[in-house]
């Protein structure tokens, strides 16, 4: 070829873009999640706002090259505020035929399709029922196809190194990443640093991965396969120190922060379950904060140990997903009866039964509200974004301690694994809270109540003069002794409800996005926040009379909710379930609210919510 660096070559053109969505897809052994996360870090460092969505199979290693084995990672970044991981990707990186087949339907027409041609062997094509090679039959003509011999090029780049064929093959994701770094003008330093640390015990692998990354980057530039590359300017973001954080990490850090601020030790009892296990992994790294993590023999033991720890004076918390909540129900009822502080984190996933373990859904709301024997009220809070899992975990503990009650924190698979930049809070500005002082010994009654909160005293074993017994049998008011008296039972049932309802006094005024009154009010909760907010903003640009509110408090509901609903003609409730909040709102407020329901294990797209609102605006109900 004879081309050298001194050759005169036109600089590639630079186009400016406002927002880009990229999906990396490949076999679950291709290092897709890792590649996505590296691109995310670089994008955060480039100053863009961003949101990510990993989508990985339930099987750890499904058979190579098959559809069930496809792993994906989507990132949406922009020079403006980003609220969702993006509807349809602008770019699809497909490492094999299976990932092409599984993801092509989502790619925008005219979108960039970067394909590893080396994996399009007859054998791999047959595995996913491609009769003809799609790279050759013209079926991809609607897209900007960029065929790259990833395996061969990576092999060439690493030819001088003493690596096995498998080791070379494992570096090809960094070659692809290097290409994407050039295409979107991302800094490579964070990935180079990561490679250096990850493989520090094997210098050969540091060299190999570094070379692959540089080679991909140089290839994208010199081979002129893209024509131009792109720049996405920094987003106007609130100044401060940021980090990237997933929902599960944020929930874990919220718990540690609550423990440190309140001075109460944290006890996390849990049993491994997707998609909640990362909370355990995160917390078990922070024992230096006095965190005690306990991997129990089952879900029941996990919540039992957490309740026992709360009885013993700790912040007891148990984390799980929907099937785990089902198993814990009886013990959670005991925490209601004994009025002990406890936080139950439900990282919701697709159900019923084992359902879709790695996919997202919001179908546990009614289980958490009502899924126990007897009249068994429990406060529920829900996070709206990955970073907000920090705030709401912290808030769940504050409520649990102040009101002496178990509290549910609802997140979901999308929030748990999705990530976003997080303005790191200053510890000194976190709201303070602590457990209340005990009354004098002589006045101590285990079930006497503080007027403002109806909370009972938390007398922890080890304190002399406060010896008492608690349990699951109905309690006599004030004394806490066992009582089967009919009038006492009714009084206690009402008291437990009244106590939970009291929490409404702590709920801040509800913020309305968009129009403050008008035709359609969209009410959401949990991870639908981004899609709803973006959809309402789009419609507001056309002056549609649409507003939205997002509920962080699901039991009790915000006191101003009824009033806000009254200012709109219609109420639309988008949910990733069959209409659970919808039922609650209809029952409590007797409003003819309408549901917009998606139960695909995938989050809402902005367009889906926008279409739902427009349809209600145009056609009304029906």
């Amino acid at each position: 070829m004879g081309e050298t660096k001194t050759d005169v070559k036109p600089e590639a053109a630079v186009e400016e873009l406002e927002a880009v969505t990229i999906r990396f897809a490949g076999d679950s052994g291709d290092g897709i999640q890792l590649t996505g996360m590296q691109f995310t870090t670089a994008t955060a460092l480039a100053g863009n706002d961003l949101s990510t969505l990993p989508d990985y199979p339930a099987e750890i290693r499904a058979p190579a090259g098959t559809l069930p084995g496809v792993s994906g990672y989507q990132i949406h970044f922009s020079s403006r505020e980003v609220l969702t991981p993006g509807d349809a990707p602008d770019v699809l990186v497909a490492m094999n035929p299976a990932s092409l087949k599984a993801n092509l339907k989502d790619l925008k027409k005219g979108g960039i399709l970067l394909v590893n041609t080396d994996s399009f062997t007859p054998q791999n094509l047959t595995k996913v029922q491609y009769a003809k090679n799609p790279l050759e039959d013209g079926s991809l003509s609607e897209f900007r196809l960029i065929p790259v011999e990833l395996s061969r090029l990576t092999g060439n780049a690493l030819s001088g190194l003493a690596l096995t064929k498998v080791q070379v093959e494992r570096c090809k994701n960094f070659f692809a990443l290097g290409m994407m770094f050039w295409l979107y003008d991302r800094p490579m330093e964070s990935t180079l640093k990561w490679i250096g640390e990850k493989f520090k015990k094997t210098p050969l692998l540091v060299e190999a991965n570094t070379k692959a990354l540089h080679a991909g980057n140089a290839y994208a530039e010199t081979a002129e396969i893209f024509g131009s590359h792109y720049k996405v300017r920094k987003a106007p973001i609130v100044p401060g120190v940021y980090r990237n954080i997933t929902g599960n990490q944020a929930a874990a850090l919220g718990m540690v922060a609550a423990s440190q601020v309140s001075g109460l030790p944290l006890f996390y009892g849990t049993y491994p379950i997707t998609p909640a296990s990362d909370i355990l992994h995160e917390l078990s790294k922070h024992k230096n904060f006095g965190v005690r993590t306990f991997q129990a023999e089952d879900e029941i033991a996990a919540v039992g140990a957490a309740i026992g720890a709360s009885f013993g004076g700790a912040l007891g918390v148990t984390g799980t997903s929907g099937p785990g909540v089902a198993l814990k129900s009886e013990a959670i009822g005991l925490a209601v009866m004994t009025e002990l502080p406890l936080v139950i984190v439900d990282v919701q996933r697709g159900g019923p039964s084992t359902g879709l373990p790695t996919k997202t859904e919001q179908a546990d709301l009614l289980q958490c509200l009502y899924g126990r024997n007897g009249e068994c009220p429990i406060p529920i809070v829900a996070a709206a974004t990955p970073a907000e899992c920090f705030t709401m975990a912290y808030e769940a503990f504050r409520i649990a301690i102040k009101y002496m009650t178990p509290v549910f924190l609802l997140t979901d698979g999308y929030l748990a694994n999705g990530s976003e930049p997080w303005l790191v809070p200053e510890v000194s500005k976190l709201p303070r809270f602590e457990s209340r002082a005990l009354p004098p010994k002589e006045q101590f009654k285990p079930y006497s109540r503080e007027e403002g909160t109806l909370a009972r005293p938390w007398a922890v074993p080890g304190i002399s003069g406060y010896e008492h017994r608690i349990g699951g049998l109905e309690k006599q008011d004030v004394t806490g002794n066992v009582s089967y008296d009919p009038d006492n039972h009714e009084r206690m049932v009402r008291l437990r409800h009244a106590k939970v309802n009291k929490i409404a006094q702590d709920i801040p005024p509800t913020e309305i996005i968009g129009a403050k009154s008008g035709k359609v009010l969209v009410i959401g909760w949990g991870s639908t926040f981004g899609a709803i907010t973006a959809a309402v903003r789009q419609l507001r640009q056309h002056d549609e009379p649409v507003g939205a509110i997002h509920l962080r408090y699901l039991n009790p509901l915000p006191p101003d909710l009824g009033d806000i609903m009254g200012r709109f003609e219609q109420v639309l409730v988008p949910e990733m379930n069959m209409g659970q909040l919808l039922k609650v709102l209809r029952a409590k407020y007797l409003v003819p609210a309408v549901g917009l329901n998606k139960i695909k294990g995938q989050p809402f797209k902005i367009a889906e919510v926008a279409n739902g609102i427009v349809s209600l605006l145009k056609n009304g109900r029906n």
Partner: protein, 344 residues
């Protein structure tokens, strides 16, 4: 504070007596229930341990035995069916200075709660677990339990139970308990002595208490507890001592291969090859656990007692090591490994 320190700690304030451990609640077991003797024995033992009353907690599940905490003037937690070991584990880990007792029964501990019992024992959680075994469901009025004999006729098994019973001592040994014992509710001196050692053992304690249910399974253990037959049908386990039994102490146990057999001898002249008890041998403990009346006398006493680190010690050690390696700094934790600054 570790347990050695606890054991030697004098009671704060005036010396406690049995009365200090009696709560103001009316005891609502059936008249003549074996539970009364157990309650009295425990209430009598506790003042002698020198542990402040506020540091003692009784945790129970569901069943007749599980009403126990209401009658003890200590901290107490009457939880849900089968799950007492889970609450007790969390309690001990979060508040290690406490002496935590678990009171359970054959249905609560070995049926609905069998899994929790296995794991509490194998983790060597510092819990004193008392399992009241009356071979019947009492509180639900007379169904077969996991320790009911094969063929036992009960309300739920009118033609006889088709389930083979579980052996509680063997179960506890297999689970890895570091202290395993069996006593009879009415044999107060022996029960007291075993209970005292149980209370002072650090780690998972399992004591099977053979207990009579006067209403639904009267005479459940009469062969081994009745005055007329008990000497012939029981054998006491004493560490380092040969297994000798009988009213005239003229019978002993020796091993033939792995199988125990009875040897008869003139009183006071035991043969040299009698089996000598060793509390530290897991193999011997299992052999003894499978000795049963009527073929062989039923062993009573401590089958196994060994020292091992308790779960709370191991957990606390990890916390201390983590603290020494990296002092807690919340702001630093929140910032994480990688941050970037957006300028104003």
């Amino acid at each position: 504070m570790n347990d050695e320190e606890l054991t030697g700690l004098p009671a704060s304030g005036p010396m406690l007596t049995r009365k200090d451990f009696v709560s103001d609640q009316l005891v609502r077991w059936c008249p003549g229930c074996g539970d009364f003797a157990i309650l009295a024995t425990v209430q009598k033992l506790l003042p002698s341990l020198g542990i402040p009353r506020e540091n003692i907690v009784f945790v129970s599940g569901i069943g007749c035995s599980s009403r126990f905490p209401y009658y003890m003037n200590t901290y107490g937690f009457h939880s849900i069916h089968g799950r007492a070991p889970t609450f007790a584990t969390g309690l001990k880990l979060s508040n290690p200075k406490l002496q935590v007792w678990v009171v359970t029964g054959d249905g609560d501990g070995l049926s609905i709660g069998g899994n929790h019992l296995i794991h509490a024992l194998r983790r060597n959680v510092d819990l004193k677990i008392l399992l009241f075994n009356n071979k019947i469901y009492g509180l639900t009025k007379g169904q077969a339990s996991p320790t009911s004999e094969f063929g036992k006729k009960t309300k739920s098994t009118p033609q006889g139970s088709v389930d083979f019973p579980v052996n509680p001592v063997s179960f506890a040994l297999a689970s890895g308990a570091t202290f395993v014992a069996r006593v009879i509710d009415t044999d107060i001196p022996h029960f007291s002595a075993v209970l005292e050692r149980a209370a002072k053992h650090k780690g998972s304690v399992f004591v099977e208490i053979l207990q009579n249910c006067i209403v639904f399974n009267d005479g459940a253990w009469s062969d081994v507890s009745a005055k007329a037959t008990r000497d012939e049908n029981n054998v006491d386990l004493r560490h380092g001592q040969p297994l000798v039994f009988g009213k005239d102490r003229d019978k002993g146990i020796r091993l033939k291969g792995f199988t125990p057999e009875i040897v008869q001898f003139p009183a006071g002249q035991p043969p040299k090859d009698l089996l000598v008890h060793d509390e530290t041998s897991p193999v011997l403990a299992q052999i003894l656990a499978h000795m049963d009346h009527p073929e062989l006398p039923l062993p009573q006493g401590i089958f196994r007692a060994v020292q091992a680190p308790a779960l709370h010690e191991l957990v606390d050690k990890q916390v201390e090591q983590a603290r020494a390696a990296a002092p807690p700094d919340l702001q630093r934790l929140l910032r994480g490994p990688e941050t970037w600054t957006v300028a104003a």
